[in-house]
């Protein structure tokens, strides 16, 4: 199974790589054709499925010093329930006294139920090649997949969640750093491009929905399935801000703002992106 997929993957990547390398003389249409062919090639097999499968396996295994599986981890739908959970996150967890996104909640379960230290649980948040795959990215991909086809429904009824939404929105428009950038610099207008990459307008429901419902995503250029925490971390890097701490309140606030802005749209991830 993986071999057929990787073969398809390579074919697609080569086509696109060639289009990109050809550089200036390549018309936009060629690039679009290449991407279209690529998407078609991958229609029956997103490599993210490999992460999903690994995450699923991990879910039921006894883990950590306490030998406890994720089946006792409550993502808001009851212990171990994953179906539809991702589409309702972030939410407020009274046992933790915090609003949490999926990734922060997974770390919480690893620390509070499985007995890992926080440092152990967050040792490899983002994978780095086939020898250094991230468990968290696999678990995230698995749980997200269990919301495939489910409508996004992040409730702002809880005041803690509403506060995170408000702060996330404020932060989205916060200009600072050497380049004066805010998220809004790149993501608050329609039909903008940075080089040849289209930039979604995340301040409008349509843009937020299309973006949020396709993360986590397999990144072709990186050969990794990336989580939403990774997406935020990397955009802050491009924004010339310092290093966003994994699971920090700001990361959850921005996730709350964008996830709630996607409410009503059907979740269709994990996605696949160049």
């Amino acid at each position: 199974m993986p071999s057929i997929r990787s073969l398809r993957l390579i074919t697609g990547a080569v086509a696109i790589g060639a289009a990109l390398l050809a550089g200036p003389v390549v018309a936009q249409t060629t690039l679009e054709n290449a991407s279209a062919k690529y998407r078609q090639d991958l229609a029956e097999g997103n490599p993210a499925d490999l992460w999903v499968a690994r995450g699923q396996e991990m879910w039921t295994q006894p883990r950590g010093p306490k030998k406890v599986s994720f089946e006792s981890c409550d993502l808001g739908q009851g212990p171990g329930v994953v179906k539809g959970a991702y589409a309702t996150l972030p939410r407020y967890f009274p046992d933790a006294g915090r609003v949490m996104d999926l990734e922060t909640r997974l770390v919480w379960c690893m620390v509070n139920q499985q007995g890992y230290t926080h440092a152990e649980a967050t040792k490899l948040t983002f994978g780095n090649g086939s020898r250094h795959r991230s468990d968290l990215e696999a678990l995230t991909a698995y749980v997200a997949k269990e919301s495939d086809g489910v409508k996004m429904n992040v409730s702002l009824a809880d005041p803690h969640v509403k506060e995170m939404y408000d702060i996330g929105k404020k932060a989205f428009f916060y200009h600072a750093g050497t380049h004066d950038f805010a998220c809004a610099t790149c993501h608050a207008s329609d039909d903008l491009r940075i080089r040849l990459q289209y930039l979604p307008n995340l301040t409008k429901p349509a843009g937020a929905q299309k973006a949020y419902t396709t993360w986590p995503a397999y990144r072709v250029a990186q050969g990794e399935t990336r989580s939403f925490q990774w997406r935020l971390h990397d955009c802050f890097r491009q924004q010339r801000f310092p290093d966003l701490i994994y699971g920090s309140d700001l990361s959850i606030a921005l996730t709350t703002y964008l996830a709630a802005s996607a409410n009503g749209a059907v979740y269709v991830g994990p996605g696949i992106k160049l």
Binding site: I167, Y174, T178, H179, R195, R237, S248
Partner: protein, 217 residues
């Protein structure tokens, strides 16, 4: 069932009406300036606790100067005319021109600066020169088709504006501090924030205003 006097009912009704009006007002109108300032303060406090310094990107990257503060404050609404004036005047006053008066360098070197995306990210080596990545946002030379659309096309910038002192001075000042001419623009302030060196700005200006530059063909 107790009977209520019409007056009590009326008073209760009015109170309820006021409560509803207050709730509606709270939802429909923009938050008050105090609410907004308090939310901003909580946002900044959360930000400071959510990052750590890495590479060349220290925590001071989160601190705002007056321009950044105002542009964030008014980001979701309309920028008042008085704020536009204040930002543009302050930034225009901050533009530094080269001591030797030479504004125009080598367009070939400028083309490299305009192409290069590296610079100022925590993952970038601070010992290597920064790029400006003008192409990320602008069309310049027609040969480069991988350009972004955040800013306007600068194709034939010099040719259209005329090869005059005025054009050269404007190009220098615009690249040095874009906020001097267009408050809360999305264009970085390359000189003001020491992203580019004086010589790099000269070279980029040449790319814009040199009649031999591919931009002006």
């Amino acid at each position: 069932m107790t009977t209520r006097s019409p007056v009590t009912t009326l008073v209760r009704g009015a109170v309820a009406g006021l409560a509803i009006a207050a709730a509606l007002y709270g939802c429909a109108s923009a938050p008050t300036a105090q609410d907004d300032a308090a939310l901003t303060a909580r946002t900044i406090a959360m930000m400071k606790a959510s990052f750590r310094p890495k590479g060349q990107a220290g925590m001071d990257r989160l601190d705002q100067d007056e321009t950044q503060r105002l542009c964030s404050q008014y980001a979701e609404g309309k920028l008042p005319e008085s704020v536009v004036k204040k930002i543009e005047q302050e930034n225009l006053a901050a533009v530094k021109y080269p001591a030797d008066g030479t504004l125009v360098g080598d367009w070939k070197a400028g083309e490299k600066v305009a192409e290069l995306g590296r610079g100022m990210q925590f993952s970038d080596d601070p010992k290597k020169p920064n790029g400006a990545n003008c192409y990320a946002c602008h069309q310049l030379s027609p040969k480069q088709e991988a350009y972004g659309t955040i800013g306007p096309s600068l194709y034939q910038f010099g040719k259209k504006r005329g090869y005059t002192d005025q054009t050269r001075t404007y190009a220098w000042a615009k690249v040095y501090d874009a906020e001097a001419f267009s408050a809360c623009t999305n264009m970085p302030r390359f000189g003001q924030h020491h992203i580019l060196t004086e010589q790099q700005i000269r070279d980029v200006v040449a790319l814009l205003v040199d009649p031999a530059s591919p931009v002006n063909q």
